[in-house]
Amino acid sequence: MSRSYETSSQWRLMWRKFKKHRLALIALPLLLLLYLTAVFCGFLAPNLPETRFVDYKNSPPQKLRFVDEEGKFHLRPFVYGYKMEIDKESFRRTFTADTARKYPVHLFVKGDSYKLLGFIKSDVHLFGVKDGNPLFLMGTDKLGRDLFSRILYGSRISLSFGMAGVALTLVFGVIIGGISGYFGGWVDTVIQRLIDLLISIPTIPLWMALAAALPRTWSTAQLYLGMIVIFSLIDWTGLARVVRGKLLSLREEDFTMAARLSGASHARIIFRHLLPSFYSYLIVTTTMAIPTTILGETALSFLGLGIQAPAVSWGVLLKDAQTLQTLAHQPWLLWPAAFIVLTVLLFNFLGDGLRDAADPYK
């Protein structure tokens, strides 16, 4: 055993254990990347989410190419333009790649102006094609809006919703669970029965009822906050149970009694002994709760009860992929689902790793 092991704090021991969990170790930077993407979506997206390219409605994704049709290699990637054909019988427009028109993709292209982080005005995009030509890496929707850009913008709401929802859940859960565990007695009984009651109600109908109660006149920001409150009102129960159980067992630990006998005040016992002992559990529970919240928002928005267009979230985007017809003809509209699956998986991997590392002393 090395000296560093002996003087390692809880966090360092946790990190040691966490490192052994491969998937979690991969998930962590990828999640950070996703969140950074959400923060800098204006810069990263080649187009604005609401810009309509009326000539390119329902166009399929373009492929980013290095080799052209003559087999010549280009160091700078390029995309082909679209060639539109109208089916004489069904009047459906189909797009194919027009090999005659090549648009090289440049870095730091000037395009539509946006506000980075909400206040830095800029018109430089990380990549794009020049002169307003189309660049639709994941195709467009029925109004001709670039899906890739919309997904990046949508990640702002979808990803932050998980965090914000869980943050509020954490507040409810810790306070109510803390009261339940610390005071015990009839207070505990009442709170636990209330939790039983809440858990017994099927969540989706309850969400729907509550979400339907939000006024349709509310702005996006209000709706967003309202939904966060709805989620945490339902979601805090699990966390409250964890906190209560942990408090009950920690109260019985000898080191808590030793601290009391040492003359430590209640505040000192709570903040130096009890809380540090379950920070790690809170982090784990929280991490595992984030994907559930993200899925919840997606589900409600998909059903049309959550965030409303023109605001974009992944759930709102998926609403466009509701009918079989669109799925058959525009399968690329399912791209947001891929992002949701990826995010949820990454969070679960991360949570798994954290759970293994949560108690480095066992």
Binding site: S262, R272, Y361
Partner: protein, 340 residues
């Protein structure tokens, strides 16, 4: 060691009843009498050994004295350093905090008794910080002293408990208990969780500390050999009550309560040739929620009579300094410890 020394702790009619609650409204349907009417005096500089089977209330008694558990009723008088007699059970929080500087506790489990998230320094320093006794360089000096006194090194101060063995952890626990310079320490099964060789080291440490600091101990254990080794006087507890109290040697040589005899005889003899005559205490420890009528030990007692089923025996002084709670304490010829 007994009568010549002044009392440091006098316990009188101490009771701790836990209510048994049932149903949604938590009606009290009975009581677990964990500590039932205990009278006991512990003298200065003495080690009082408290022995009994699991669940007999030894630990609860120890915890009641320092008010880690609130007793239901009774009296505990503690004589502090200045000679003032404090009524422990009626102290307010401020005075209780002061009392606990003079009265400390060493716990059974060396793993759960140290906060794994604190360094040794912070663990040992906690009583000094909380009581405002030392800070800064003085704090460092005192903590270093304490740690060295219990046989650890200065270099251990920045380590976390996970880096130590059970015995070392127990040393840390002892250093913490010593921090406020107490006069009386409750050792609640302090060596029970340790290996036999480590037990001996910790017992020696406790004895050294007793000699150099003039400490008094209430040493709680279920291990008769440990009790015999460390205690000046011994109390035997059975289902919340004291069965017998006496000087260690006398009690081990000639018990005055059948329960003590049973404990002594059930201890395996070192000599395998004597194994045949091994006595096995039959039956289970009585349930403290509904103890048997009369003498709680009568269902397991080989000498029990009709009287034992109805009359509860009181703890009386049978011989000088020998107390027993048996109706036939003077009459029975009980076997003492086997010579091995």
């Amino acid at each position: 060691m007994s009568r010549s020394h002044p009392a440091i702790l006098e316990i009188d009619h101490l009771k701790k009843y836990y209510p048994i609650q049932k149903g949604f409204l938590r009606r009290t349907v009975g009581h677990v009498k964990a500590v039932d009417d205990i009278r006991l005096t512990i003298h200065e500089g003495e080690t009082f050994g408290l022995v009994g089977e699991s669940g007999c209330g030894k630990s609860t008694l120890g915890r009641c004295l320092i008010r880690a558990v609130e007793p239901s009723s009774g009296q505990v008088a503690f004589t502090d350093r200045s000679g003032e007699r404090l009524n422990v059970l009626s102290l307010d929080n401020k005075k209780l905090k002061k009392l606990r500087q003079e009265m400390q506790m060493v716990f059974q489990d060396p793993f759960s008794s140290l906060n794994p998230r604190m360094t040794v320094f912070n663990i040992v320093a906690e009583p000094l910080v909380c009581n405002g006794i030392a800070r800064g360089a003085e704090l460092v000096r005192r903590v270093t002293d304490l740690v060295e006194r219990v046989g650890l090194e200065r270099s251990h101060l920045n380590r976390y408990p996970h880096a130590f063995s059970g015995g070392q952890r127990q040393r840390i626990g002892i250093a913490r208990a010593l921090a406020t310079n107490p006069r009386f320490i409750v050792c609640d099964e302090a060596v029970s969780a340790l290996d036999v060789s480590v037990q001996a080291q910790i017992i020696n440490l406790l004895q050294d500390l007793q000699r150099s600091l003039g400490l008094s101990y209430l040493f709680i254990s279920h291990d008769l050999s440990v009790i015999e080794h460390i205690s000046h006087r011994v109390g035997v507890m059975y289902v919340g009550k004291m069965a017998e109290i006496g000087e260690t040697e006398a009690l081990f040589a000639k018990p005055l309560h059948p329960y003590t005899e049973a404990l002594l005889l059930s201890k395996p003899a070192a000599d395998p040739a004597k194994r045949k005559e091994r006595y096995v205490l039959s039956g289970e420890v009585a349930n403290p929620a509904s103890p048997p009528s009369g003498c709680a030990f009568h269902p397991r007692c080989p000498y029990a009579t009709e009287r034992c089923k109805t009359d509860t025996p009181a703890l009386v002084e049978v011989e000088p300094d020998r107390y027993s709670a048996c109706h036939y304490a003077g009459e029975l010829q009980l076997q003492g410890k086997r010579q091995s």
